[in-house]
Symmetry: C2
Subunit: 337 residues, 2 copies
């Protein structure tokens, strides 16, 4: 293994100067820099990160804790963050917590052991995580959590729910069911509360039996939709709190031989590549997931530089396609009844 000592010897300078030439921070003569660079090339020197970390207490590595990278929302997030980080020469260690708070604890422990410089966390469940984020910069992503003083980067969930409710009501729906995310999470809670408020604002408060709490996972969406469809008076529209539950609901609807947008409207928070390809395509609230990821990284980097970063709330928009029942005569009739 070729060390910086070898480089220094080859370049005819001291170890200290070689180091300075390589890190580029301190004052070194142009001549020395050239000598050192030449020596590096000749010898094929590569700096040993472990040794550097030991001295500098930095690893140029950050941790990313998400629920499940197989969920398109998190894939995109993870992709965006990796891109942003790579540009700055920072590596990303990703862990999946599967919406389980104990796995979050394990992961965070492992990540801090790995000596990451910072942490981007999508908090699992409602659990607060004391002990963990002792003195390492943290940014919360997508969800907020009580008792953490870290900045939060998230989408405007309330606005999203409002846009969707307005749209559904505008189409004539008055009997709207909600499959909400877990009320222990801020996203689940905000989306749900805002939707309820808006429904009341429109004078069509929801029926009690049309409000089902899921857990953001596919199976819960399936169960919820099954229950909703079995109701004596079937709701005319179902608004799912995330793409996975919408997916589950879609399966349930299909299974009962019903068609979305015709027999029952189905709309969702979060877009997905293939939602446009459904028949009819799915009306959704789209988050700018890529921006969310990049913003989270920028915020983390600001914090790592010692600046105190602000929360960020990114706008969402509604993408109207067909599953909301616009243009369906059958649903129109049902809506009138």
């Amino acid at each position: 293994m070729v060390t910086i000592r070898d480089v220094a010897a080859r370049a005819g300078v001291s170890q200290a100067t070689a180091s300075r030439a390589l890190t580029g921070s301190d004052s070194v003569s142009a001549g020395a820099v050239a000598q050192v660079q030449a020596a590096v090339d000749e010898l094929g020197y590569r700096t040993n990160r472990a040794a550097r970390s030991l001295r500098t207490h930095r690893t140029d590595t950050i941790g990313l804790l998400i629920s499940d990278v197989r969920n398109p929302f998190f894939s995109e997030l993870s992709y965006a963050i990796e891109q942003a980080a790579a540009e700055q020469g920072i590596a990303v260690i990703t862990t999946n917590a599967d919406e389980r708070v104990e796995r979050q604890t394990d992961s965070l422990r492992a990540l801090t052991m790995q000596q990451v410089d910072g942490l981007i966390i999508v908090p699992q469940g409602g659990g607060a995580f004391e002990e963990i984020s002792e003195d390492i910069p943290v940014v919360l992503l997508d969800r907020r959590v009580t008792g953490a003083d870290a900045p939060v980067v998230h989408s405007d969930n309330r606005a999203g729910s409002q846009l969707m409710i307005d749209h559904l009501v505008g189409l004539g729906h008055t009997d709207i069911a909600l499959i909400s995310g877990p009320q222990a999470t801020s996203t689940g809670q905000e989306r749900f509360a805002a939707a309820i408020e808006r429904l009341h604002g429109h004078g069509c408060g929801p029926r009690e039996d049309c409000l089902v709490e899921g857990d953001f996972q596919l199976a819960s969406g399936y169960r919820a939709a099954t229950r909703l469809l079995d109701l004596p008076r079937r709701p005319s529209a179902i608004f799912a709190g995330d793409n996975l539950m919408a997916f589950g609901a879609l399966q349930a609807i299909r299974e009962q031989g019903l068609r979305i947008g015709h027999d029952v409207a189905l709309v969702s928070f979060d877009d997905t590549d293939w939602f446009p390809l459904l028949d009819p395509p799915m009306t959704v609230i789209s988050q700018d997931v890529h921006a969310l990821g990049m913003r989270a990284f920028d915020t983390l980097q600001a914090r790592m530089d010692g600046q105190d970063a602000q929360d960020a709330c990114l706008p969402v928009r509604i993408t109207v396609r067909g599953s909301c029942g616009a243009g369906s005569t059958a649903l129109r009739a049902r809506r009138r009844s």
Copy 2:
């Protein structure tokens, strides 16, 4: 920061004994271990990985190079590998190369800089990567590449193509188009070659204009399908070389107002969560992606332990749904003509 020296002092043993007690490898008395453990708990000691790495030349970190984590195939792979690694206390740094060989080079450089203990690589393009994998254990995943002596973990691509062709021909299709992956990649090449051979075996060799080479990306599938559908004599079935190109092809088919499984059959290599929800659902060759990931990790670990690991070829199976045109009278008529 509390060091192992502090722990040793508190436990009333030497630094050396404390270290031995913690790593658990060497011979230490049970009493000493207990003392040290107690001291660790009291002081809240956490071992400094950088210092350990500096001595041991290990980082307990591996690198994973994939094309794009937003592709469900790679999400699943990435998930499986992270799970397997976490169980062994190993962290995974993931990078996306976007099927671009220059980004692969950059990523590998970054990963080796990070001093990873091993590398799982899905090779991009056809590019060989000399210089990189000097003395660090590497496992190739999904695709093989010329001139690398690393073990390869992959699915049985040839069998997959054969299964699908047999099935299509069995349904009466004689006019089958192929949207292949890039012939520079082993997967693209094997799947294509096996399909061609099998077609000839059935006595229905493909038309020249029904063979289109894509690049595993969505857009290329779209373009290819568009071209195929515009042919004077439209093929009765299209076999896409991966899920992304199938997705693109699906968009093209939809755009022309055609229905899969009725006007034209569409089948694909790789399954996806939502393929079953298409109308009709998509017939595919399913790989056991989770097993692929776990196997890759196991193989890498074997190599890191100095054992020389074998290539692994995992079986695939065909999942017959509706998009192949089974049960469609319209397509049956076309097939007869």
